[in-house]
């Protein structure tokens, strides 16, 4: 990733990843909203797109020069603009990730795992969801576990993010048979069964975008 090799990622690399996430979210906006219409209030795509559009505007106005500062900008922007549960949840995730890599000027694979873990822990601290509550945690936790395994096996940044993205996608798909126990979908009780959770889906797309950018890095 720019100004860094595949074994680490600097601020510009994180910015490139976030821009790719914004593009992916825009692309899947309608789908995310449709998923949220099935078991929620039908705004998850709009919420996420609103948030990442604002992030892009902030980045265009000036890119921070550490990974931590980039993550913090994303956090505060999502918190202020998303407007749904995903705002404080993703916002807290990025904030905790930012704090977890505070000192680093580049992120190596272990730092990526540290950031992902802190992010997931932030979502759990904020939303109190457990595994199989049919939330974004069901994508985040497998992603964290896969990332850690990949890093421990010596994988580079792209390998770590690829592992995270793949298992997040599987985790998102695995929410389909679950009954929601947190968030709006829980109001539907057993009727939430049979639908894929919108937040777990956006988590999977987000990690997929990061992995794809890392894989394209020189």
């Amino acid at each position: 990733m720019s100004e860094a090799d595949r074994t680490s990622c600097d601020a510009a690399g994180v910015v490139a990843g976030i821009r790719a996430v914004a593009a992916t979210i825009a692309e899947h906006k309608v789908e995310l909203t449709r998923l949220d219409r099935d078991i929620g209030d039908g705004d998850h795509g709009e919420n996420m797109a609103r948030g990442f559009t604002a992030v892009l505007a902030k980045l265009d106005a000036g890119e921070p020069d550490t990974p931590s500062a980039v993550l913090k900008l994303v956090a505060s922007t999502l918190i202020s603009t998303v407007g749904g549960a995903a705002g404080p949840l993703y916002g807290t995730a990025f904030l905790r990730a930012s704090t977890a890599v505070k000192e680093a000027t580049t992120l190596d694979p272990q730092a990526i795992v540290t950031a992902l873990t802190a992010g997931r822990d932030g979502v759990v601290a904020r939303g109190k969801a457990e595994l199989e509550d049919k939330t974004m945690v069901d994508a985040l936790t497998p992603a964290v576990n896969a990332a850690r395994a990949a890093a421990d096996a010596g994988g580079d940044v792209a390998a770590v993010l690829r592992a995270a993205a793949n298992d997040a996608a599987m985790g998102a798909a695995a929410t389909i048979p679950l009954q929601a126990r947190k968030g709006r979908a829980s109001y539907l009780g057993a009727r939430s069964i049979g639908h894929q959770d919108p937040g777990a889906t956006s988590t999977a797309y987000l990690l997929e975008a990061l992995a794809a950018v890392a894989e394209k890095a020189p």
């Binding site: 705004d43 919420n47 918190i79 202020s80 998303v82 407007g83 705002g87 404080p88 904020r126 968030g183």
Partner: protein, 140 residues
């Protein structure tokens, strides 16, 4: 001294309407609606909540009430962003939105301290409407 009330809602109209109803019996209290997004869309806004906390807490503290779950998440995030000193006197209360707003506003209006206002809001959890539960009596 007066404790302030922040009404966190997904709808600007809902928050404003509730503030107007609660203010009837509590004219001296800062009852601050924080409803909807800044452009009026449905959702909860960190920035509107943070601004409402600033208006509601004049030094004696404030309580935040919210309409639905994701309002809690945004409210909690806004409270976490406060300075430690202020955060110590800002409390989110999980209680029926409308009745708790009225009950807490009345308590604040008569000069109750933060604890008293929280208790008034919590009482709304067990309050019974007049006439009890018509529906249950008739349908069981």
């Amino acid at each position: 001294m007066t404790v302030g009330i922040v009404l966190v809602s997904h709808s600007a109209q809902l928050a404003a309407g509730l503030a107007e109803v609660a203010a009837q019996m509590a004219p001296n209290v800062a009852i601050c609606p924080a409803g909807g997004l800044e452009d009026g869309a449905i959702g909860t806004s960190f920035d509107l909540i943070a601004a409402a906390i600033e208006r509601a807490d004049t030094g004696d503290g404030a309580i935040l009430l919210y309409d639905l779950g994701s309002g809690y998440l945004t409210a909690e995030t806004a409270v976490e962003f406060l300075e430690d000193e202020q955060r110590a006197r800002v409390v989110i209360v999980d209680a029926p939105f409308v009745l708790a707003a009225v009950s807490a506003s009345i308590a604040a209006n008569v000069g109750s301290d933060l604890r008293g206002v929280v208790d008034a809001a919590l009482q709304a959890r067990t309050a019974n409407g007049p006439g009890g539960v018509r529906s249950v009596d008739e349908l069981v």
